[in-house]
Each structure stands twice: as C-alpha cells, then as structure tokens.
C-alpha cells in the first residue's frame, strides 16, 4: 500500500481533520500558545482517550493501538495542517518510539502504557547545543553506578521538554557505544530551562544532566540501532507534518488570491499568480509522495529498493525545502497582510522555519540519504 491509502486510513484522516477543525482552529492555536503549558490539555485528553492518537503505533501489548508508521504519519500530517500545539510529536512520535525500539519488554511494560494513554508526557533529549541529530554528534556521557547509570551533559532543542514527566536521553557509554536512557524529569541532577523558540506552537527546552540517575533502555548494544530507527521514524513523521502544513498554506494562499481584487480584477487572474499556484501544487504533491512512500516503507520495507534511512532522509529534506518555499510564496501572495501578526500565514511560516532545521537540516539529510543510497 505504498501508493494509496486504505479506506480505514482515509477515515482516520478525515476524523482527525474534522476534530482539529472544530477543536483547534487558529483562534484556539493563538490562545493556547499564550498559556503556560503551551497546549490545551483538554484537547490532548480527548485526542488520547477518545481518538487514540497518543497510542497509534505503540504495540497493543503495551497499551497501544498497534497501528503502523503510516497511521502515525497521517496523524502528524493532520496535526501539521492544523498547526496543533500538543505533546503528540514529542511524546508519541519521538519518546515512545525510542522506548519501543530500545527498551526491554519489562521497560516497555513500565513506560509505554502511560504514554499511550496520554497521561504521561515523555520527551526525547538527543541533540546538543549547536549539534546535530546524527549519533556521532552526541557527547553526553553515561557512567555505571552500582548497577545503574548516571548521565552528564547538556541537551538542547528538546521538544516539549518543559512539560514532560519523563525524558529519554541519548548518551555515550563508557566503551563509546550509544545508549538510550530514561529518567523522570524531576530526578536529582536534572535541570531544565525553557528556550525561546521562534515558533511559539512548538516549545523547546534545554536539559542539563549532572550525574542524574537513569535507566539504560535495553542492553548496551540496543541504543545504536534503535537510534537510527528512531531518527527514520521521526524524520518520516516530521516530513508528514511538514507536507500537511505546506498543503494548508498552499490552500489558504489560493483562497486569498481568489478573493482579492487589484487593478479591477482578481489577482488570481494574473498569470504569474497562476504559475506560482501551479508550482506550489507541484512541489507540495512531490513532497507528499516522498513522505507517504517513506512512511509505507517503514511499515513494510520488503518491497523497496532503498534502505529506510535513505527514504526517510529524502522525505525530510524534500518536505523541509517545500514547506519553506511554500511559506515564502504564501506570505508573498498575501502582500502586506501576509507580514502581519494577525494573519495566520506567519504561524505556519515560523513552523516551516523551525521544521527546516529540526532533526537536522535538509543538507544533513541529503548527505545521510546518499550515504545510505543503494546505487
């Protein structure tokens, strides 16, 4: 099912779209981002409890719904389209995937049901200040301590780090391998600070570990391979989120130019506007195709001639470029209105800017893509 969605998937998408249209229009987004939490806990509760959004790809054995990455990416796409501020990406996509990929059965039993139910918010702390998301860039260290571990180092750009109850952190093991660790955010030796994010709908934190006690997920060999898979799934879901946002921008810009009159005629009637709209459609459709293909490959990589990492990075880079380009066009098509705070275009513009570099830049991902490419 790489090239079309099933009826169930389409129904799931429609249901989410309706829900978000009702419960999280941009008037709500604007209200919520001014609150301390930065998201609407009630909306999140309903999404988790009634719609199962927090549990999509978590296996049923751990309280999840047992769906695939395609379904997870659909939810990301709809959230991106609505610009929903919520713990979905940080907790379900990033942290739960890390636990599911690295953890032992007992650890998953202990940690995943709470996340799947939405009551526990988890965050993933991987990149470090000025650093990237490739495993080689992590310098935080873990040292053994009486059968347990202690973490030291500083993590940045931690999505929803300030509201998380639980954090999964990537750190170097004494032998140099990568470990994924979990610890509650109120642990001794853990300090966090809110960062000023450009995109107010996506809050970031810096977390400093100073000998904080932590549990190693899986064994010492689990972290490395798990991380690659986590990065793939995260990149695929972010690509989904980005194409969702880009499509919304494209549609809204088209609607605006269709209403606006200058020189006694609709500005949509100018050929340059039409060409721009056509280019935007082309770019968004191409990026969607890449994001959908990568998500399907994550569920079933039998058929693909390329490794998942190459597909995931391809999709992330393509979506990042497209989202930003679409946002630039969308502002431009609105004219002066597009540059105002009151116009919603700027909200997506800022999300596009942040997504461009979150999880690594397009250049980083194109490099990763080629390193994995099956020539």
């Amino acid at each position: 099912m790489k090239f079309s969605f099933s009826e169930e998937q389409t129904e799931f998408r429609n249901m989410l779209r309706r829900f978000l249209r009702d419960r999280s229009p941009t008037t709500e987004v604007r209200r919520v981002i001014e609150t301390e939490a930065g998201y609407d806990p009630e909306v999140w509760r309903v999404m988790a409890e009634d719609l199962g959004v927090a549990a999509i790809h978590i296996p049923e054995a751990y309280g999840g719904a047992g769906f695939g990455i395609s379904e997870l990416a659909i939810a990301a796409e709809e959230a991106g389209r609505a610009l929903l501020p919520s713990p979905f990406f940080g907790s379900t996509v990033l942290a739960a995937t890390a636990i599911a990929e690295a953890g032992t059965d007992a650890q998953k039993q202990a940690l995943l049901p709470g996340i799947a139910a939405g009551g526990t918010i988890a965050a993933l702390a991987a990149a470090e200040p000025r650093g990237g998301w490739n495993a080689g860039a992590f310098t935080a260290t873990a040292s053994p301590d009486n059968g347990s571990w202690r973490l030291s180092g500083r993590k940045s750009y931690v999505l929803d780090g300030m509201i998380a109850d639980l954090v999964v952190a990537a750190a170097r093991l004494p032998e140099g391998g990568l470990g994924l660790f979990s610890l509650p955010t109120d642990s001794a030796g853990l300090a966090r600070r809110a960062l000023r994010s450009m995109d107010p709908t996506r809050r970031l934190a810096e977390i400093t570990f100073d000998g904080a006690p932590a549990v190693l997920l899986g064994g010492p060999a689990a972290g490395g391979p798990a991380w690659e898979r986590v990065l793939d799934i995260a990149a695929i879901c972010l690509a989904g989120e980005m194409v969702g946002g880009a499509e919304r921008l494209r549609e809204d810009a088209l609607e605006y130019v269709s209403m606006r009159i200058q020189f006694g005629r609709s500005i949509a009637s100018f050929q340059v506007t039409k060409h721009k709209a056509a280019d935007m459609l082309l770019e968004v459709e191409l990026a969607k195709a890449a994001a959908y293909y990568a998500a399907a490959a994550a569920d079933d990589d039998e058929e693909s001639d390329q490794p998942l990492a190459a597909l995931a990075s391809l999709a992330k880079a393509a979506a990042a470029d497209t989202y930003m380009q679409t946002a630039v066009h969308a502002v431009q098509m609105h004219g002066g209105i597009g540059f105002t705070h009151d116009n919603d275009t700027q909200l997506w513009f800022k999300r596009a800017k942040a997504s461009e570099v979150f999880l690594g830049s397009a250049a980083d991902h194109r490099e990763r893509m080629l390193q994995q490419w099956n020539a």
């Binding site: 995109d199 009159i261 200058q262 005629r265 502002v331 431009q332 597009g338 705070h341 009151d342 800017k353």
Partner: protein, 418 residues
Amino acid sequence: MTDLTEDDIRTAVRAWLVENWDPEQGLVAWRNMLIESGWGMPHWPQEWYGRGLPVGMTPVVEEEFDKRGAVGVAKLGIRTLAAATILEHGTDLHKQRFLRGILTGEESWCQLFSEPGSGSDLAGAATRADFRDGKWIINGQKVWNTSAHRADFGLLLARTDWDAVKHKGLSYFLLDMRQPGVEVHQLRQMNDHASFNQVFFTDAVVEPEYRIGELGEGWKVATTTLMHERRGADGVRRYDTGSDRQGRIYEEERAEVATVMEPYIWYPQRTGRADLLVERAKAAGRWDDPAVRQEVAKALTLARSAEWTARRAREAQQAGRPQGPEGSIGKLAASMVARACAKAHTMIAGPDAMLSGADDGADGVVAEILVSTPAISIAGGTDEIQRNIISERILSMPKEARHDADRPFREVPRNQAG
C-alpha cells in the same frame, strides 16, 4: 557652479566646516546654519537650501562631512520622500512651509498611499477628498503607513473625482496628522515589531493651499514619491545609528536617530544581513562545512553584485544621464539577496535557527533576519509589480490588457471595504 571640480568642492566644504563646525552647538541651530549654506543638500537648487551641484557631488560633500565628524541635515525616515516630492511639485508656499522643518528634523512625515483595498494598485485608492465650504474633507482608511504614529504630516493620495478614470481622479495632499479627524492604530508584524499603522480619516481637513500638484494630477505626483522610495530601497543605503562621539550635538543626534529609527530597527535585518554571514559562519563553527560555504558564497555574490549594480546606476546618474528605471532592478535584486541570505543564515545557525531572542546564539539577530526578510519583497511595491515594471518599461514588452483604466472609477470592480 557646475564647472567646479571635485577638488574645488572638497576644498570649499573643508573651509566652510573649519569656519563653522562646532560639536557643542545645538542640533537644530547647526542644521539651520547648514541649510542656509547650501551644503546640507548640495544638489538642491540654490534658492531652496542647495547649491545646484550635480547629484553625483553629494556623496563627495558627505565624505568631507564624515571626515570631519560633522552632522548633516536630517535625512532619516519618510522625510526624504516628502522633500523630493515637495521640491519637484510643490508651490513656493509648500517649500517655505515644509522644507526647512524636514531638513532640521523638527517635523516628521509619513506616506499615506496604501489602503486595505489597494496596495499594489495604489491608483485604486478609494479614500475620499471632497471639497466642502472651501476645504478638503477627507474620509477613508489607509494602511501599512510606516511611522504614521509619530508623524506630524502625511503625504496623502485621495480620490477627488469618481467619474474620471482611476489615474485621473486622484489628488495629492499634504495633510496635518495632528488633528481630530485623524486616528492612528499601530499594527503588529510577524517579527513582533509594530512599525506600521492603520490610519483612519473622519472628516479630516486639508486647507485648499495644501493640495500639491493639480487637481486630478495626484498620480503624477505620487509617481515621484514612489520613484524615490524604490531608489532608496535597494538595501545598499546606510542605516544610521548615529555617531558615538562626545559632544552636545552628537547626543542630540543620537536621541533623534533613536526616535526616528525606532520603527526601522529591524530594517537592516530584512535585507538579510549579508555582512554578517562570514562572521556568523566562523562563530558558529560552520566555516569549514562545504554546503554552508556554498550558500554563503552564493549570498555574498548576489549581495555584492547588487551593490555594484546600484553603484553603476549611481555613477551613470552622476554622469548626467536622466533618471532611469535602475531603481526597480535594485529593489528586485534586494529581494533575491534577502532570500539567499536567509537561507545561508539558516544553514549557519543549524538548529539554533529554531530559537529567538537571547537563545539564538547571536542576540536574536539571526532570528530577526529569518522573520523579517519576507517584508522586503512586499514593502514599497512587490516583486511581482517590480517585474511588471521591468518587463513593460525597461524591456518594452506588451502591457497587460487592462479593464480598470478605461471607465469611470466608480464602475471599476474593487474589494469591499471592511
């Protein structure tokens, strides 16, 4: 006068400055003296505070002022547009009443052209000016008016004839902003600054002698203003921060700059800040990254080429060629530069591009660049409009078929007010 060589001029300026420059005098007193001497605006006519020198000699004079640390006449903000417009189209009364206040910095201006319904299509302005009881009565709304919240006067384009075709029904007024019929509301931008405003007119009044240009010829006058605006928008212009020297006059100038430039503090950022690229790439440890280097090089290439193009245009002008359409090329180039810079800055910043304020690793400058560059391709005429101008006026390509210029304005489709 015109047969003076550059050296003659330099000598004359130096001598005058030796005689008159004193940093301990008051700013306005100094500028009044400067205005009388003609050295403040040397390319202006002699009877109006100038020396009738070719415009190309103005930078030469400015250079001598800079060398000496001498303060010039007020040139910041919309005032230069007001001055150019009044100089070209104004009556003696207008020149007498306004030019001096513009040059001393005592009176400030805003441009009241764009409306909610007409931005690119400025000639579609629907703000009304009705002649009643010997006065012009203004009703309607303007928008995007930079600095209007501070301005003493406005350059107003308003409709005086609804039966004429659109370009023939407009008149241009010099409006007193400090009156009960004028209400100004600031607008917040996506970069969180609030430089521009909405301006509402409810029976605002303009005395008949403050119409500038003939009745129904407002569009012609507006064209002069716009030409100067676009020429100034090439991003090469220096953004003044005032001198850090000691002395009463410098203190007064710094205070003036801080006030006048407040709406523009982010303007350097909207150009993309090519000047910061190398320094930022080194500071962020990305200077050796080949992908980053490519983007930095591309942005610098564009920025420099645009600057050199502007210089070429200026030199041609100095050589006495008539004012041409170079301004439009510069403006479009500035948009390309800004976008290339935004891209390069994003690559340099890496994940820090997600942060703003003190957290972005560059005191918020990079974040401000990233959310300010979209303005440059909109303000002062959009990129699309610039391309229309270039293709139709410079390249003489066929004009778009028009349906708005051949019938009474009241019959032209337009956006509903609201």
